[in-house]
Subunit: 334 residues, 2 copies
DNA sequence: GACCTAATTGTAAGCGCTTTCATTTTTTAT
DNA sequence: ATAAAAAATGAAAGCGCTTACAATTAGGTC
């Protein structure tokens, strides 16, 4: 590998000057710059970012922890981040936490050992305190899809309550009053918040909420199918069903079809997340859009602005979901 | 940040010894190790991987170039890689090439500047020669989902011909003879190979191939819809349609439904890739499984074996697709 | 042309670690 | 107990770059 030293000799300047042209720092005469440039070209010089990082104490690398890599959710999010970071010549070091506190910690640790300039974390198992602590230690990090009050400034998340509200409000607006709710895992904040939104919508429209119409699933398609069966088994009557996410909605549709109930003629269904396959279902699934890519972008902007001091990179902390109308909802028949 | 030097002083040993316990290299007496360990714990030492990389000329980092991050394909692939690499304590630096030769080159360059120990590349725009050249320059790289003869050893890919064969062979086996084919972009190797497989299956079973039953799309759902319409418009008669991928199959199903043709009673449909939503369609899409996660794993094994000299990491160069039976195919009615 | 200021370059000290080689200590064999 | 061999440790030279700071050169001004 050819070094800066060799380039400097070939160009007849000092290595400091070569460093200056590489980084475009300090001042260097145009003629000198050209000299150096051609020396680099001739020798086939390749900058050694590792050495530069050690010397400058900046790696231009962002550590990224997500639970898993498969599925389309995290790809979309990281895609949003990557797009923004690429233009700033930053790179992403990726690690998976598998929703396990020990692994999550281990990965965060590894990323810090690699001296990432900042971390973007979608972690699920680690405690709030642990993250608060990191921030207090001066670690530059942004938590995505999770809100922690003490470090609200470091969080970027979706307003799940609003999303839950929007979904049920839509059903109410088109005339439904008997609305079942297939909840996600309620020990998770988003599962709980979406249900809260549902309840608020009911209250706002003067419809009484009843546990009898609610079923707690686990965000998986199968639990949607089971939810419908359970509801029907307990004799619940409903003309619409709001679901904690699209997978469960898809599962619910399968169960409804089994029961001979048409969607949307007999029962309206609304999902949440607007995942890729929502539009491939038939009829297309009406749902709530989770602006996941935008969250990724916001995280990138946070980092660019706060860690690298780039201005003009705006970001918000709480993003708003919105209703996506497709074919699974319609007014109830009289 | 506390350094190895400070630890060594606290422990009353040399920094070389501290380095040895950190890396578990050389020999160090058990008692000394404990001394060093507790010194590290007390001082809250965090290894500086950047400095270590510079000194050792190893970064334990694999550069990964994919076209895009969104969608579920690359997430699944990277997930396979990550799982294998995590156990070996390697990390992945991710970059996107956007199917643009200049960007792809730029990203490869950036990853090399960061002194990645190896690269895993899913690149689409860069030429074969360019990649062959890199290999000849001594760059450790594995090309995924693409086969280049000169560097076949560095390639891990799917047998697309076999996949195309399997799909059409299945339709033939259950009695179809009038099989339409909705091809992907034929300037892409996989689009072409899948079609070739289709043709081979027909030939093997003594059915004549005709261009009249083939339509060239572009792997997008919409082109599947258009393909069916075009075929019907030109008066083609078929009882089954094989598609270059699941998106196109999904588009085809929409068009068939519009035309009042039931799937699979009137027309059988088979896709390719077995993407996430294939099982959410109704009926579930019969398709060819693309073992994308396994390809990611194989790439990791290649790297582990060839670059890091870990043994016991086997890998193959050409992976086999297999048929996934769901609900969109059945024997033609008499 | 002398003098002041600004622009340009060079010198050299690290950044925090690994690793070779030499040295010291411990163990084993006789 | 003693020599030889093995194990454990230390000294120090980098790895390739950045970045004060000092030194030099260039550009203006009167």
């Amino acid at each position: 590998m050819v070094t800066i030293k060799q380039v400097s000799e070939k160009a007849g300047v000092s290595s400091a000057t070569v460093s200056r042209v590489i980084n475009n720092t300090g001042t260097v005469k145009e003629k000198t710059r050209e000299l150096v440039m051609s020396a680099m070209a001739e020798l086939g010089y390749r900058h050694n970012v590792v050495a530069a990082s050690l010397a400058s104490n900046k790696t231009h690398t962002i550590g990224y922890v997500v639970p898993e890599l498969h599925g389309s959710f995290f790809g979309a999010m990281m895609g949003g981040t990557e797009q923004a970071l690429r233009q700033a010549k930053k790179h992403m070091l990726i690690a998976t936490g598998h929703s396990d506190a020990d692994i999550e910690k281990e990965q965060i640790d590894a990323l810090l050992s690699r001296r990432c300039d900042a971390l973007i974390l979608h972690v699920e198992a680690v405690s709030d305190d642990y993250l608060v602590n990191l921030v207090q230690q001066g670690v530059e990090l942004v938590v995505v899809n999770r809100y922690i009050e003490e470090i609200g400034d470091n969080c970027i998340s979706l307003d799940n309550i609003k999303g839950g509200y929007l979904a049920s409000r839509h059903l109410l607006d088109i005339g439904h009053t008997k609305i079942a709710y297939l909840a996600g895992s309620l020990f998770k904040a988003d599962g709980k918040n979406r249900l809260t939104g549902h309840q608020q919508a009911l209250r706002d429209m003067g419809v009484e909420y009843t546990d009898n119409l609610t079923y707690e699933g686990n965000f998986q398609a199968k639990s949607g199918t089971e939810g419908i069966r359970a509801l029907v088994a307990r004799g619940a009557r409903f003309t619409a069903v709001a679901c904690a996410n699209d997978e469960m909605a898809s599962g619910a549709m399968i169960a409804l079809r089994e029961l001979g109930r048409r969607v949307p003629e007999d029962v309206s269904v609304i999902g949440f997340d607007n995942v890729d396959f929502a539009s491939y279902l038939s009829p297309g699934l009406t749902t709530i859009d989770y602006p996941v890519q935008k969250i990724g972008t916001m995280a990138a902007h946070w980092v660019l602005e706060r860690v690298y001091g780039h201005t003009r990179h705006e970001y918000q902390h709480i993003l708003s979901p919105r209703l996506i109308l497709r074919g699974t909802t319609s007014s109830p028949e009289q």
